[in-house]
Symmetry: C3
Subunit: 131 residues, 3 copies
């Protein structure tokens, strides 16, 4: 199990961690297999989406803020309930394929830590297995 | 493959199954590996979120009801279309890490069966593998 | 790693790929294990939901269009930002169980490629492992 550290840049931001994850895959020496990722935080998540045009991350942020607005009848005293809900919507785990020692990703795909209550320093756990 | 049974408590509720899943991990004898979970239902799901303040589950319920309201033009005759949509939003599978015979979870994380059309008795499938 | 091809039928559609995935499981010869699926596209995803009443897919489409409407302040020039957001909401990967050479699914569950920016020909990657 490898632990990545990710410094997030805003209240809500999408941090491209593809090269850090690829580095973990390379370190593992696994040629054919699976790369499991887990985010041990309840106000962040992991998602795979476009890494070509940064506008996609901008628009994702707008859409998620629309999806889960703040409400006066939320009870959680920390005031970050929308961040918890967004975390469950994008999810805490991802499983990727490894082929020839490289992550298998579509032409436009990158792996993102989705921060919903930052900025903070976050962890991402990585386990690469032969399969 | 181990099968858990979970009695859900409301139309929509979030049942903390962390200790049941940990028990399955302990029974498996796996020290280092992965714990795969699968929910074989189309109006429930699995999610990882805060297990410290129960207000988070309360607020999650409010937000999800807002996200997917009932509509007059829904066609599914059982009337539970919002439950189906919520199930796809939180997802049916989760993959967790196991280290030293224990589930690896963040300080505030628990594993939840998310019920969207209860109360019912639900199943959760667990497979723990050395990896 | 097996690669499936899926022809999608609409701008937004849910294509039942259960039998194609089962065929990949059968070809693998794996009796007990896991079936990992990955969608290498940023405007499509994979989800498990009801495959009995097609109205559920109809209603899912209505609800997702409501969830992520087009906005004038989206910046992504291709105009398909809602499709990117929906892709992150349903997710790119799924992990299923295999028992006795068969996918383990609930009575009403099927596996769907969720198309959000079609019609197109999409790929789904499948890896079946003994576990």
């Amino acid at each position: 199990m490898i632990q990545l550290q990710v410094r997030t840049s805003g209240r809500q931001s999408f941090e491209d961690i593809t090269s850090q994850v690829q580095q973990a895959v390379s370190q593992s020496g696994v040629q054919e297999g699976l790369c499991h990722l887990f985010c041990p935080h309840t106000t962040a998540g992991l998602t795979v989406n476009e890494n070509w045009d940064p506008s996609v991350q901008h628009d994702m942020g707008l859409a998620l803020d629309d999806l889960v607005p703040q409400r006066r009848d939320f009870r959680h005293s920390e005031g970050n309930s929308p961040a918890h809900v967004k975390s469950s919507l994008v999810g805490a785990s991802q499983t990727l394929f490894v082929d020839g020692g490289r992550l298998v990703l579509g032409s436009w795909q990158g792996i993102y830590l989705a921060e919903f209550d930052g900025p903070r320093t976050r962890k991402v756990l990585v386990k690469v297995v032969t399969a």
